[in-house]
């Protein structure tokens, strides 16, 4: 019951956020890019529930529209990274030998660079855009999943059910997809929840450096970066996008843990 309610809470949070992103044009009381310099840094009030930013823009509207960018970046980065990581990590762990060496050395090379630096270089070369931000974050993002999957596959390879599947003539692709990957869901889900949070924050950093979403398009990370300078005089600038990020992470964690609990029970 406890696990169920946690899972349900997380799911509700995520659905609400997704709904807010989808229906932002209907929910936002003001245009998120409309400026009014006379109204700079207004605290939350009836006219502006979340207050206004330095350019007098409505923060509620910006948080709602920002959800679109942040969730899109987070989800697509995690989806692409996870897919690449599972494929390459499985190849590496299952076949071993030179395949393993090749993939692991590639990961070592990529991890030798600070992730954000590679992402900066990548977006600087290709030009600032949302698509390039996602690709840049996936460039490093997949390595974590690949290492995780490889480790798990190495352990699973010695398990009896894998030997049984091999004895029955299962192809490597079938053994990995049908028998091994379902066993990886737990750690992958946990990694994905944090990966998504990291991607949302990294998008903020790239946007802040001018390599991500270009102003005045709102994104939570960029709003957080912009509002940081006013933390002491207008904390509402960071509080609301910060809360939005926190809620997203919380929702992802709850859903992730709920799923794990269910899968564990089914495994038993």
């Amino acid at each position: 019951m406890e696990g169920k309610s946690l899972f349900a809470t997380g799911l509700i949070i995520l659905l609400l956020l997704a709904g807010a992103a989808a229906f932002a044009p209907l929910l936002a009381p003001h245009n998120p890019t409309e400026q009014n310099l006379e109204k700079d840094l207004f605290p939350p009030s009836r006219a502006h529930l979340f207050g206004t930013d330095k350019l007098g823009r409505d923060i509620l509207g910006r948080v709602l529209y920002g959800a679109r960018i942040s969730l899109l970046v987070g989800l697509s980065t995690v989806a692409i990274s996870c897919f690449l990581g599972v494929v390459l990590g499985s190849l590496s762990g299952y076949f071993g030998g030179w395949t393993d060496h090749l993939i692991m050395r590639l990961i070592d090379v990529l991890l030798a660079f600070p992730g954000i630096l590679l992402a900066i270089a990548f977006t600087a070369v290709l030009g600032p855009s949302l698509r390039h931000v996602v690709l840049a974050l996936c460039l490093i993002g997949w390595t974590g999943y690949a290492r995780l999957v490889r480790g798990e596959i190495l352990a699973l390879r010695e398990r009896e059910f894998v030997h049984a599947a091999e004895a029955l003539g299962g192809t490597p692709a079938r053994i990995v997809c049908r028998h091994m990957v379902p066993n990886l869901l737990q750690p992958l889900l946990i990694q994905a929840t944090f990966g998504m949070a990291g991607a949302i924050l990294a998008e903020g950093s790239l946007s802040f450096l001018g390599l991500g979403v270009q102003p005045p398009t709102p994104s939570w990370g960029a709003m957080l970066s912009e509002g940081r300078q006013f933390l002491l005089v207008a904390p509402h600038l960071t509080a609301f996008p910060g809360l939005a990020i926190m809620l997203t992470i919380l929702g992802l964690n709850l859903v992730g843990d709920g799923l794990r609990d269910r899968l564990e029970k089914r495994g038993k």
């Binding site: 330095k54 001018g210 005089v233 926190m246 964690n253 843990d257």
Partner: protein, 518 residues
């Protein structure tokens, strides 16, 4: 359930706050040192290479020059006790006796000759070679007497006598600058690029040793962290690197001494005159009318700026106030754009007349100003694509002429000959800083006359005409002259703010009370 939820909230908080917590480190400062917070790291401190504002300001505390500008921008004796113009092309400098370098070696005419020859040597690749190209020869006439011969009369020559002097044989420093030797009030103790520069008081300085033990210039890129460090007492002094909105907070939450003075730093929008749209004068004038600079000064700068009419500030001897000015008038802007042949395709609809890009740095204030301009120009039908870059990339693009519009500032303008460097058709990069490729024969002729003439009244007349033409043609769209804001520890005495932000008066600064160790 409650326990688990707490865990989740804790995790989420940790994710968000770890990066900020890392910024608030605890550096060690030697006792009696004054700590200056800088937004960006100084580049090369060697006076033959120093060009960015922070390097020049720090360099002035380590090196002496023949002459130096005072707080009223008038040239005063420094290493040269006096100087004389023998004729239009010859200058004699009488050096001060008894000045020694930080290594104890006396400073003589040989050191001055070496420094200038070193800059003039193409192999040194000094960025300061260009302005000195009229120097034909530097001749030693005695141990403390030196003569400069010029190829042609050059009115701004004395301004070039502000180059820091290094000892004979000092190789141009290309790597870490730890062994730079000057004769100034402070010696260079440590330079960690991107982190800090530590200067130590020179006990045998010829004007008397500074009263503070030394100065630590700490690079703190984040504005909020600079403010918090100041509140904590780990930073004593910040000049112009404070968010305007933070000033009232600092005044009410700390005992900071705040000094606000009109500065000479000129902020402008640069235009690329090779661009098919921007080459039309009406378009540039329309942009000038469309931008509501007063609203930006009032709200984004919190009044810390004054609407500018051009590069030279009212405090300058050559300033011309009666130039064409462009008040905020969106309707006039629309009319000018119509005249230029760019009618609005759909009236108040979303389609723009044309699209331009606007480059600026990633600094928060610059980004916000860019966003405000984007909105102002959208209202007259110009779509502005704001592109923000970190400083290095941005500056490289601007130097190469790779822009439509950009915003930058000129700091420390003294002689109006700077107009030659900015707007003469011989000054296209890399020969000069005419980055927007402005060409006007009339301006060229005036600027050539201006640098040859040695009569102040005539020069004033010439530069007055130049200011008129430039205000009409608008290769630069003037924005504002920024005010200098100094926030400092209230126990600091003797600091005199300079309109161009120079920090040389720190050599006479002191703490009125013993500074507690932090």
């Amino acid at each position: 359930m409650v326990k688990k939820s707490k865990q989740y909230i804790l995790r989420a908080f940790v994710c968000l706050w770890i990066p900020l917590a890392g910024c608030l480190s605890q550096p060690q400062t030697p006792p009696g040192y004054l700590v200056v917070g800088l937004e960006s790291s100084p580049g090369r401190l060697d006076p033959r290479y120093a060009t960015d504002a922070n390097s020049v300001r720090i360099g002035a505390l380590v090196f002496n020059s023949l002459v130096r500008a005072d707080e009223n921008s008038r040239l005063q004796p420094d290493l040269a006790e006096r100087w004389e113009a023998v004729d239009e092309r010859t200058y004699l400098f009488h050096l001060r006796n008894g000045v020694t370098f930080h290594n104890g070696k006396p400073l003589t005419a040989a050191d001055v000759k070496y420094t200038y020859d070193s800059v003039l040597d193409p192999a040194t690749r000094s960025p300061k070679r260009g302005p000195l190209q009229t120097v034909e020869a530097v001749e030693i006439l005695g141990r403390y007497l030196i003569r400069f011969r010029l190829t042609a009369p050059h009115a701004p020559f004395l301004e070039n006598a502000t180059l820091g002097i290094v000892p004979v044989g000092s190789p141009p420093v290309r790597g870490l600058e730890v062994n730079l030797i000057g004769s100034g009030p402070f010696t260079l103790e440590e330079h960690v690029p991107g982190e800090k520069v530590v200067l130590k008081s020179n006990p045998v300085y010829w004007e008397g040793p500074p009263q503070i033990a030394g100065i630590v210039f700490r690079v703190i890129p984040d504005a909020i962290v600079r403010v918090l460090e100041f509140k904590k007492g780990t930073v004593d002094f910040v000049q112009n690197d404070i968010e305007p909105d933070m000033l009232p907070w600092l005044e009410s939450h700390t005992d900071a001494a705040v000094k606000i003075d009109q500065g000479t730093t000129f902020q402008y929008i640069g235009t690329n005159l090779d661009h098919p749209v921007l080459r039309l004068r009406e378009v540039r004038q329309a942009i000038a009318h469309a931008v509501d600079r007063e609203a930006v000064i009032r709200h984004l700068l919190k009044g810390l700026g004054t609407g500018a009419t051009g590069l030279l500030s009212p405090a300058h001897w050559a300033y011309e106030p009666r130039v064409p000015q462009y008040r905020f008038d969106p309707e006039q802007a629309k009319r000018l754009l119509d005249q230029a042949g760019f009618p609005d395709p759909d009236g108040d609809g979303p389609l723009p007349r044309f699209t331009l890009s606007y480059k600026t740095t990633t600094l928060d204030l610059r980004r916000r100003i860019a966003e405000a301009f984007k909105e102002h120009l959208r209202r007259v039908g110009i779509e502005l694509e704001v592109r923000t870059y970190e400083w290095g990339t941005f500056y490289e693009d601007i130097k190469k002429g790779n822009f439509h519009l950009y915003s930058l500032a000129w700091v420390g303008v003294t002689d109006p000959d700077i107009y030659y460097n900015l707007f003469h058709s011989d000054s296209f990069p890399p020969n000069g800083d005419n980055r927007g490729r402005y060409r006007n024969r009339e301006t060229d002729a005036l600027l050539e006359r201006g640098r040859r003439s040695l009569v102040s009244a005539e020069r004033k007349r010439i530069y007055s005409q130049v200011q008129h033409i430039l205000a009409r043609d608008l290769p630069y769209i003037p924005l504002w002259w920024t005010k200098n804001v100094v926030v400092m520890n209230p126990t600091i005495r003797g600091f005199i703010p300079y309109p161009d932000g120079e920090l040389i008066s720190l050599k006479k600064a002191s703490f009125s009370a013993a500074k507690p160790p932090v």
